[in-house]
Symmetry: C2
Subunit: 330 residues, 2 copies
């Protein structure tokens, strides 16, 4: 497939670098201020894509991906648009418009950006209904973990709940607090030094990021893979009951450890509720993944509980989820 | 889809019982000596399927599924044949012929029977190449665990190895030996009393069952999801290096426990080798699943390691994998 990659952060750049290995071709790349669009000449089939190495080099050396205008990338001749700009809340712009532009042109869209699927799922479905294009968004939940696809394959009507550890930064902090007996502030500073936590860590430690992922899962469970039931309920971040980890004292982790338990930031989605909060879990249990690992537990009607753990973030990890989605569109 | 279910053991019966919930219709069921084929009347659309409850009741009360001939079920007007007869080695008959009969009629086949995919993968692919039908076989590996689909979605070329605990009976025995300090023979007898182990447990405890699953995974890795490379190698059970758990002494488990480890029967497949053997693993590590649980670890080129654990056997669990495959064929 011919891909237009919108967003040139870690995920967008990895999609550009890996697409060829998966048999796809990147014909356009844009960041917020620049773009490069392949001119369609130079390849044996007249469809030469952009040069991945040159794009990545320009971005790191000059801060731009090319000399074209971002609007040119949206207008390029692609089969699927990859929306990898930063997640925004509320109107989820500009990601939402990037996706609907593709759909209006009857092209597919694959999202790594959580905003449109978490905040405007109903609007997005309406745009899909009017289009020959489809949307996929595996990369929005749990990085390399195939949470959305697995729920789709089981079929949402046979999944009663999905829960798990969905934020690597919060999990790293809780893991280190328990292992070293340190307090939140100390471990946060360490995580910031290591680049695991951002300078402003609120999005991760207050549970917002995990909640967005659970909202997306709740939308999948509510609307289903096939036609949405008439009474399908749309979820947004406002529907989520969210507590973060800032107020978890080191003493709580020490007390938990005496009882063979530890604390994890657990998010849970059903077709009716979304909740994120620190919870006690068995210290050696399935949910107690370490460091930046993520885990998703899927409760099914007929096949018991399925656990999937792996890397929940990272450029190549998330890009491989994007490219898996592209493969499913073929 | 209209399904013909061949085989009326625990898996076949569960497929018959659950198909309606997944939006499919069972139009024929056969066991080795009897069959029932829907007459196509009675339903609003002229496509009434068989009555699932009546089939299951006849099987348990009279030992037959109906008054038709098994050959009639193979000749019925179905979209996909579900091959759920017992796994046989070597020529993998009669399962192999059931599947190729469907493919010759340009129908799909979904296998729960490991024989044809483990012992005659090359022949099976040749039959698929000549057909408009496709085959799927998620249910042959790890019950409810989506091992094959996940490898397909990641794309086999980006998976370097798949390993895991793939036999619940052997795992139950090793778990009990470690927990209770008992020897193999004692725990085997207990497992037989509980119905977890068969009267002749060789297939499970000698590693054959786990090896067949690994052979199937090796074939998927070797041939890939898309067109097979010209040098793709076909694997059969003869290519597997297999040791079982009969000779694991209780003392080995006690020594392992002193070092924070335990023993698991681990199977591993790459595109080049298949190996099954008891191996030391960390006692609280990811591979040390308990009881009849299974786990599959997928090593990827770009997304690290993915772990998927769940119920590796059981009628409804395996039937849900079959019905997930049917959904993917649509």
């Amino acid at each position: 497939m011919r891909l237009a990659v919108i967003g040139a952060g870690a995920v967008g750049r990895s999609v550009v670098e890996l697409a060829g290995e998966y048999g796809h071709e990147v014909v356009a790349v844009a960041d917020s201020s620049s773009a490069v669009v392949a001119d369609g000449t130079g390849g044996p089939d007249g469809h030469a894509g952009v040069d991945p190495e040159a794009v990545v080099a320009r971005k790191s050396e000059r801060g731009i991906v090319g000399d074209d205008d971002p609007a040119d990338a949206l207008a390029a001749d692609y089969d699927a648009l990859v929306e990898a700009t930063p997640t925004t809340l509320g109107d989820a712009e500009p990601g939402f418009s990037h996706v609907t532009t593709a759909l209006e042109r009857d092209r597919h869209a694959v999202l790594a950006n959580k905003g449109p699927v978490a905040e405007r799922f109903g609007d997005l479905r309406a745009a899909v209904d009017d289009s020959d294009g489809e949307i996929r968004f595996e990369a929005t939940v749990g990085g390399a973990i195939p949470a959305v696809s697995t729920v789709e394959d089981i079929e949402p009507g046979h999944v009663t709940a999905v829960r798990g550890v969905l934020n690597g930064t919060a999990n790293f902090i809780l893991t280190r607090m328990a292992a070293e007996g340190l307090d939140y502030d100390h471990v946060l500073a360490e995580a910031q030094d290591l680049g695991v936590a951002e300078a402003d860590p609120s999005f991760d430690v207050d549970g917002t990021d995990a909640a967005l992922k659970c909202v997306i899962l709740a939308n999948v469970l509510s609307f289903g893979a096939a036609d949405a039931p008439a009474d399908a309920r749309e979820f947004t971040l406002d529907d989520a009951d969210v507590s973060g980890i800032r107020d978890v004292p080191g003493s709580a982790l020490r007390l938990a450890a005496e009882d063979g338990r530890t604390v994890r930031l657990i998010g849970e989605a059903t077709g009716e509720t979304v909740r994120v909060a620190p919870r006690l879990v068995p210290e050696n249990g399935t949910l107690a993944v370490s460091g930046t690992q993520n885990i998703v537990q899927i409760e099914t009607s007929h096949a018991g509980r399925l656990n999937i753990s792996g890397r929940g973030a990272g450029g190549p990890e998330t890009a491989s989820a994007v490219l898996g989605d592209v493969g499913r569109l073929e």
